[in-house]
């Protein structure tokens, strides 16, 4: 059935978008235990930076590289300046500050670059590809490949490098880590920097498909949250798998389930978030945690 194959393939393509953003969310959560509501806007902002660099004539790859560096520095700076004062205070303070960042970055991007939708350059060719009668693009493949590569690098980093281990220690056992000489504050900043990098990469990969505008990430980020929760908010593998499953699921639900139809796709995704959080908060790949009252 062409239709079903197409829905699945399109779902995988869409899902890979969710997956790449979800990776950034997971990274922040692992390093700090907070959910960064501004993640999408940070990614969007760095994508605009990339766009601007290309506009002034920089070759694409150089622009992307520079953007990634800028993202890292920006993420670290944000953590040190804006988050650090409140990270000890409470979950609520962090939520409000990240929301403030969200609003400010969105407004700033709109102010600098306007709100008109813009195309974004892509290194991939545009000829459509086919598998089993279902069409997709090289860009879609690119997003999946880059997400998987990012995932692999992240896993390697956290499992195998001293720095990665230090970051994990700082997140889970800050006091003990300090005793061991780990600069906990800078580990957290590093976490934000890396998450910003993953977000920037995600934005650059996604923008050719969803098109560049200041609001481009606002709905994607919700699906990314759903993907992260589904896969397990602490698990990078979960983020990718969760994203792909979510992409396919909402396509199939939206197309074949009348009650949901096209109108309640988002609601379906969100119902998934809530259901997972209730039934198995650790998600598919997370470790089950002891819940306090």
């Amino acid at each position: 059935m062409h239709d079903l194959a197409q829905q699945i393939v399109s779902g995988l393509a869409t899902g890979s978008i969710f997956a790449s953003l979800a990776l950034a969310l997971v990274l922040i959560y692992r390093s700090m235990g907070v959910i960064n509501f501004a993640q999408g806007e940070m990614a969007m902002f760095t994508t605009y930076v990339a766009w601007q660099l290309v506009q002034i004539g920089m070759p694409m790859w150089a622009a992307f590289l520079l953007t990634v560096i800028v993202a890292f520095v920006g993420g670290v700076a944000l953590e040190r300046i804006v988050i650090r004062p409140v990270e000890r205070a409470s979950a609520l303070s962090v939520v409000i500050v990240t929301l403030g960042l969200f609003i400010a970055l969105n407004g700033l991007a709109g102010w600098i670059w306007g709100f008109v939708v813009k195309p974004f350059p892509t290194p991939f060719p545009t000829t459509p590809l086919q598998i089993g009668g279902a069409g997709f693009s090289a860009q879609d493949v690119g997003v999946i490949v880059v997400s998987l590569a990012t995932l692999a690098l992240m896993s390697l980093f956290f499992q195998k490098t001293k720095l990665g281990l230090a970051m994990r220690a700082a997140a889970l056992y800050p006091e003990q880590s300090r005793v061991l000489g780990i600069r906990v504050g800078w580990m957290l900043a590093l976490g934000w920097g890396l998450a910003a990098v993953v977000g920037a990469i995600s934005g650059i990969m996604i923008a050719p498909v969803v098109l560049l505008d200041p609001n481009m990430m606002q709905t994607e980020i919700v699906y990314a949250f759903a993907a992260a929760v589904l896969g397990g908010i602490e698990s990078p593998v979960g983020a990718v798998v969760g994203g792909l499953i979510l992409g396919v699921a909402i396509n199939l639900l939206g197309t074949y389930v009348e009650a949901i139809g096209n109108e309640l796709r988002l609601a379906a995704a969100l119902a998934i978030i809530v259901l997972v959080l209730i039934v198995r908060p650790a998600g598919l790949f997370g470790r089950v945690a002891v819940q306090r009252v």
Partner: protein
Amino acid sequence: MIRSVSTAAVVSAAFALTVTAGTLTTGRAADVPGVTPTEIVLGGDHPFSGPASAYGAIGKGIGVYFDYVNDHGGVYGRKIKWIDLDDGYNPPQAVQVVHQLVEQDHVFAIFDSLGTEVNTAIRPYLNQNKIPQLFVATGASKWGNDYKQYPWTIGWQPDYQAEAILYAQDILKNHPHAKIGVLYQNDDYGQDYITGLKRGLGKHADMIVKMASYETTDPNVSSQVATLKASGADTYMIFATPKFAIQGMVAAAQQSWHPTTYLNNVSNAIPYMKAAAKVGGPSAVNGIITTIYLKDPANHARYAGDPAMKQYREMMTKYLPSADQDDGNYLYGVAIAYTMVDVLKKAGKDLTREKVIDAATHLNEPNNPWAYPGVVIRTSPGFRFPITQMITAKWLASDWSPTGILVDTRSMTEAEK
């Protein structure tokens, strides 16, 4: 809670202070509010924040044209003061902003308010207080239809139903055995198009084999497009706002589906077509049919020698140098501001609100520099759709090529009543 008077006093004082901080000095109302010997005050509310912020550029474009007019003598020696506030595309905020414009800034009229929900919310207040709600920026048909109940309100752009009827007629004429698949945004905007399409097809409405809606919260529309393709449709209607329209074109190309495609004019600006071509390849856009009623500032080739376009660029460079001149929203603003000034002039030196509404409902403007050549902006007291003419155009390689002649949808719109 609070146990000491001093804290309560401080808090109450802070409360009152916060409130007063939002208070600005109250102006004095003139005999005709908003009109003095030297000034006409017009109020606008546009989305400068929130999801619809792209349309804020319209308000800015209006400001540019008013600046130009003010520098060239104004209207009977009066300069136009344009107060344009952010309503976030949110009805309660719009209502509050309009109250402020009317009661604090004493505007003469509200001009180019944007969005169906916003305009529905402010319409009762304005009409009750006999304040003109001029040239609202939305194509929903109710703005022309409801005038008996709301005589102070009038629209401007061609209404969506008439546009869809045009497409229906084109299909009946050129593709009489078409199987139509419709991609539409799930709100009043998309719904109006569908109503128009069905009316235009008349007893052939069963040519529509599948309709697929999307929400503005959907990540993309490839699933909907797949559904339409699978239905066997060979004609594809895209009733979508720019971002989703582009995705709709691209998805069709990526799924190797090449139907006869009709695109609503809200999304036909050249930069959008180029974006679709960039992502989906030329097959995503070639041959697409749309309607046009304004000039496209991004079409450098067609309007290279056009004096109106030259004037537009000069005005934009002078009064809003940082703006992207190719953004059609600015041009829309300039064009609609031209009509506004035209109406102010026709209302005469002795300006009142009644006269302005009278002028707006007896409009005959054949020479709006930024409307498509031949378009005459016309109204009568019983017919309040100022722009009813459109021309179909087809996308060939790099721009829109007009096909056929300018069609007046006036008779189709009349039939709605």
